[in-house]
Amino acid sequence: MTRLDDLTGRSGEWLRGSGPEADIVISSRIRLARNLADFPFVSRAVPRDLAQIEKLLRQRILEIAVPDDLLYVEIEALEDVDRQFLVERHLISREHAESRRAGAVAIDCREKFSLMINEEDHLRIQYLQSGLNLEGVWKEINAIDDRIEEKVTYAFHERLGYLTACPTNVGTGMRVSVMLHLPALVITRQIDKVFRSLQKINLAVRGLYGEGSQAMGDFYQISNQITLGRSEEELLKQIGDIVPVIIDYERQARDFLVKESHENLHDQVSRAHGILRTARTISSEETMHLLSSVRLGINLGLLPDLEIPAINQLFIHTQPAHLQKLSGAELDTTDRNIERAQYLRRHLNKEEEPGEAEKN
């Protein structure tokens, strides 16, 4: 079985920066909310129920998984930094990380699927993949759901569909989301217009880390809010139809910037790159902001020596829990900012002087 620490130095498949439209679409994700028919929902379940739910679902997951590929961890047994580490990698939700009840998560070693036990619902199945590929993700997650369901009875209502702890998820229990990198729409101040039109058609827009998170690094997740009265295919189609439209807007905004203010754009990208490779102390927020410009610069051919997967990885590896795991030490904010700057210098200057970070 895989161990948590095996994940530290590498990154999940979804950061690979490949797949259709990968310059703008970071990842495609679907999650399904499921509950067992014979137990109260999580918030009402007593510790004994929760332990039983955990045991039952764990057994089922172990039966269908390839053991070498699987990481199974009980949330209660984790240090805070490890919980945060899993949140930063998008493998568990913040709510799950903060929970003090018998919960767990099963993850495959490529970090494509993650099954959360006793989060808001008994089971939350997530499948995450790089690029725009909703059909593919649906096929995978649907198959996992079917396999689990072979031996587990889900709470299902003839008229209302899959029953969930919160009525906002009832029906399909499905949330389809696509994470987009939209820096040019932000620079050209058109992003609010895009949001307003998405809200009109009942789609939600969230930041990098879901509900309530700020739009760090110009990343936006677009997802369905409605889960009842539309089939899974209809929900996929709704998101699948709108994403290319937004991609097109972003490309138009990029073309506009290249044509109309090439010097300013090139300047912004070069300065961002310059700060990231020379700073001695830098906050997470500033890092995200500057990495976003660098990522845009790579996609526009302004920084030919850098590659998207490496930058994608820096977005995640420079976050607080990752820095601490990578450096093997507990760090306060000040030390983290120094460690972050060092990490960035090491990774962005590697071709020039390998010993640069240590030499000074």
Partner: protein
């Protein structure tokens, strides 16, 4: 009870479920209208959700006096024991049976959130219990007949397989 924003009597009792911690508001008609129609909120990004939750809160409160609300609130699920008040304040239901026993209260809420009241899409292959399994079989047989009527034999054979699987399920 007085409105929290002026001296008029509070006729609207709103439970705000958005943004983590639920909180209660007691407002007069004018202030309630202002509150419910003002665009949310602290997190510019989640406005869609906040608005939706406000709609949801509105649906729960409008047209009901405090007494009526109190009565509805006290209703309790015989299976898990949660009261409707507890659901309103936590935003989470207690067990699958709540959808049946709070049907009158949840029905309008669900229609408001989703704009629909009936599930379309995937269903577990195994029926979850005797009566539901039977109704599922009834529905499948009807769907198979409809498919045959439409000469969609591929779909009909899919449904036939599904019926076989449902029957074979424990």
């Amino acid at each position: 009870m007085k409105c929290q924003k002026c001296d008029k009597p509070a006729t609207f009792h709103i439970t705000e479920l958005a943004g983590g911690k639920p909180h209660e508001l007691h407002l007069c008609e004018d202030h309630a209208r202002d509150y419910l129609t003002s665009p949310g909120s602290e997190t510019g990004l989640a406005t869609g959700l906040v608005q939706q939750m406000q709609e949801m809160a509105k649906q729960m409160a409008i047209g009901q006096t405090a007494d009526e609300l109190a009565k509805l609130d006290q209703q309790e699920c015989p299976v898990c024991g949660i009261t409707f008040y507890e659901f309103r304040s936590q935003g989470r239901l207690g067990c699958p049976h709540d959808y049946t026993c709070f049907e009158d209260q949840l029905g309008p809420l669900i229609s408001n959130i989703h704009g629909e009241s009936e599930h379309v899409g995937k269903a577990p292959k195994r029926g979850s219990g005797g009566s539901e399994k039977r109704t599922q079989l009834i529905r499948l047989r009807r769907e198979m007949k409809e498919a045959i009527d439409k000469e969609d034999y591929e779909r009909a054979s899919e449904i036939r397989d599904q019926i076989k699987r449902t029957e074979a399920a424990e």
